[in-house]
């Protein structure tokens, strides 16, 4: 998937988000513009309260901007109804949360299928696809397990498989490694890199430099505005061997 005339996964221009409170209006985003080409790997950084989560919620179609436009493919999210936003989330957005957010009463494979359930394309073929994704994240032998029976790293891998099931425009990861130890963080970052190498677009929020150096590009926010938008200079890349090694360790961990 080499995008020579670069196709855009998302085009954001003049994006503003205001929260109207009783006493004041909080301007969480004050006009943010950038483009995310397909296959990009973006780290969004910035101090607390700078608007990272607000931006990510807009990118994830969980909210509508106050001003500005957000083009997802050919559709402008700013003008969509609540149900249309839901439909977009079900069909073209992949979420990975800091606290995994798997549904406790569902098994691994059923958790992976949830977006398809709301998209309405659940069938035996999609079941095969979900099983394939579970295998890809190294949990092929845990299909029937419940989230409580898995470690944090394993749960996050299920969440990543879930974010891929609807073939999304991009994966949105909000502090996806925030709850994990350094070994498991490596594991998840290696998985992200593998997905990015395969052509997946990834946008992640993080405040750790060790995490952001794995991305291709960093956007730094400050007080609701973009301060810096630049490529990562010394990008840290896992080698083929490292990825193999990590995924082997990860699956042997899941064998326990």
């Amino acid at each position: 998937m080499n995008a020579s005339p670069k196709k855009m996964a998302a085009i954001i221009s003049g994006l503003q988000k205001h929260y109207v409170l009783k006493s004041e209006t909080v301007r969480a985003l004050r006009g943010v513009s950038f483009e995310v080409p397909e296959g990009d790997y973006v780290a969004i950084m910035g101090p607390s309260g700078s608007g990272k989560s607000t931006l990510l919620n807009l990118l994830g179609c969980l909210d509508r901007p106050t001003h500005g436009s957000f083009l997802l493919g050919d559709d402008d999210v700013a003008t969509m109804t609540d149900d249309e936003l839901s439909a977009i989330r079900a069909s073209r957005i992949g979420f990975v949360f800091q606290s995994y957010n798997l549904i406790p009463q569902l098994s691994v494979v059923e958790n992976i299928e949830v977006p398809l359930y709301y998209k309405g394309t659940l069938n035996s073929e999609s079941r095969k696809r979900s099983i394939g994704l579970a295998a890809m994240v190294g949990l092929g032998d845990r299909l029937g397990h419940r989230p409580t029976q898995l470690s944090g790293g394993q749960q996050q891998r299920v969440a990543i498989a879930r974010s891929l099931v609807n073939d999304p425009y991009f994966i949105l990861a909000d502090e996806a490694t925030g709850n994990l130890d350094s070994v498991t963080t490596e594991e998840i970052l290696a998985l992200f890199q593998r997905l990015n190498d395969e052509g997946r677009t990834i946008i992640m929020v993080t405040h750790e430099d060790e995490v952001s150096v794995h991305a291709k590009r960093v956007i730094r926010l400050r007080d609701g505005e973009i301060q810096v938008d630049e490529p990562i200079k010394n990008r840290q890349v896992f080698t083929e061997e490292q990825i193999k090694e990590i995924s082997k360790n990860a699956s042997s961990e899941s064998e326990e």
Partner: protein
């Protein structure tokens, strides 16, 4: 397919808290069971009442004599006759055209003994003077021998017909036919010519609340009774005497057709009260009217029972709502996740509605099963009470002892329907509340 998955998911979510779900189901279960039981019991009671009234005969009008309260103050000299008289009887018989026949009846509480069986103490029973038609009008069934004949009445013979239970007490191992019954108070003997089959008790009449019991009756010709015993009765209570005088205890008027009953009843009443409109010594009972009243009473009774059942269902519904509100709060995060993964508001509403409906339907179905067991449970409870606490059982009214709860067929679909409606009604608010949550807020919820 999708709906099926929604149900499956709903059931699994409920099974995450089996105890909580079971208790919630219990609320509806009790509601539905009580709908079915209460209706079955009210149906049983009203059927029993109706049967008792029908046994009085819908085409009959019954006039009872009522002894007025004693005003003589121990002055025996003027003993006034009370109640229906032979003159009343003749008047009704002759003047009212819609009357088919009239039965004169005179009843006396009496002791009965059989001298051939000295082991048995005299039995307190009831001596009934009547005519041969009595057996037809009251639909008596003879098991041995024959009922009183007109010949026996005309000749004023000392013959009698005895009720089944009395026969079995006085003659446990002998054939009663042609045996002599002895009346120690009257020093009279009567020859048994017939034995009746057991007869059901009938509804209370003539101001008394107790159902009429016929199990210890002896029937003799009323002509014989008049000749041998007259119209006066002397009762010795403690040291003092009391004398009362009455010609008849009751007359039963049989009307041509049921349609003529109300009109005839008015005429009878008018005839009896021609001289004294305020006479207090008679009561006119019209079983047909009682029957009509019983139908209205039944309807009211049922409505009352429905109201009680409805209240218990509402209580069950509030239980459901309470639990679902707690569940929704508890699962705020799950709701946020589902919304982020593409669930529409309507999907969330549906998910929680499915859960409440599952609870209420499970409650409804088990409630119906338990409801169907109602008559058995009732039977067992009654049997248990009878054998383990006879004193308590004695306090149960006659109707309660005789009636059988009868499942009202309509109560099953109705209670099921109601339980579903309750589930939807009380589930809707929590489900909508879940759906109205802001997904971002919900995701942030701890």
């Amino acid at each position: 397919m999708l709906l099926f998955r929604t149900w499956k998911l709903g059931i699994r979510s409920l099974l995450l808290h089996p105890m909580r779900s079971a208790l919630t189901v219990l609320g509806i279960l009790i509601g539905v069971t009580s709908v079915i039981w209460l209706l079955a019991i009210s149906e049983g009671i009203s059927k029993e009442f109706q049967k008792q009234i029908e046994d009085l005969g819908a085409e009959n009008i019954i006039i009872r004599s009522i002894q007025p309260p004693d005003e003589s103050g121990g002055n025996f000299r003027e003993i006034k006759a009370f109640g229906v008289s032979r003159a009343d009887y003749n008047m009704i018989n002759r003047t009212i055209s819609t009357v088919q026949r009239v039965l004169p009846i005179r009843e006396l509480p009496q002791k009965f003994a059989y001298t051939g069986n000295p082991n048995v103490k005299p039995i307190n029973g009831r001596l009934v003077g009547c005519t041969p038609e009595y057996s037809e009008v009251t639909r008596l069934v003879i098991s041995r021998g024959h009922f009183l004949t007109s010949q026996e009445c005309e000749s004023k013979s000392s013959v009698c017909v005895i009720a089944a239970q009395l026969a079995s007490i006085l003659f446990p191992s002998e054939d009663p036919i042609n045996k002599q019954i002895f009346l120690p108070e009257k020093k009279e003997y009567f020859k048994i010519v017939g034995v009746l089959q057991p007869r059901n008790a009938t509804a209370a009449i003539g101001g008394s609340l107790a159902a009429q019991d016929f199990s210890l009756d002896i029937y003799i010709p009323i002509s014989t009774m008049r000749m041998r015993m007259g119209d006066q009765e002397t009762k010795r209570t403690g040291g003092s005497f009391s004398i009362k005088s009455f010609e008849l205890s009751q007359i039963t008027v049989q009307v041509d057709t049921v349609d003529d009953v109300p009109k005839t009843a008015e005429l009878v009443e008018a005839t009896l009260r021609a001289k004294d409109p305020d006479r207090q010594d008679i009561a006119v009972v019209v079983p047909y009217e009682l029957l009509e009243q019983a139908k209205t009473t039944r309807l009211m009774f049922m409505m009352f029972m429905c109201l009680i059942a409805a209240i218990s269902l509402v209580v069950g519904g509030i239980g459901i709502m309470n639990i679902m509100l707690a569940t929704v709060t508890e699962r705020t995060r799950e709701i946020g996740v589902r919304r982020a993964l593409g669930a529409k508001r309507s999907d969330i509403t549906q998910q929680f509605l499915v859960e409440t409906i599952t609870l209420s339907v499970v409650g409804g179905l088990t409630g119906i099963l338990l409801g169907l067991l109602g008559p058995f449970v009732f039977e067992i409870a009654r049997g248990g009470l009878e054998s383990f606490a006879p004193n308590l059982y004695g306090l149960v009214p006659q109707v309660g002892r005789d009636m059988n709860p009868e499942i009202v067929p309509a109560s099953i679909p109705v209670s099921f329907f109601i339980s579903v409606v309750v589930g939807v009604m009380f589930g809707l608010y929590p489900a909508m509340r879940a759906a109205q949550m802001d997904p971002i807020e919900a995701l942030r919820h701890e």
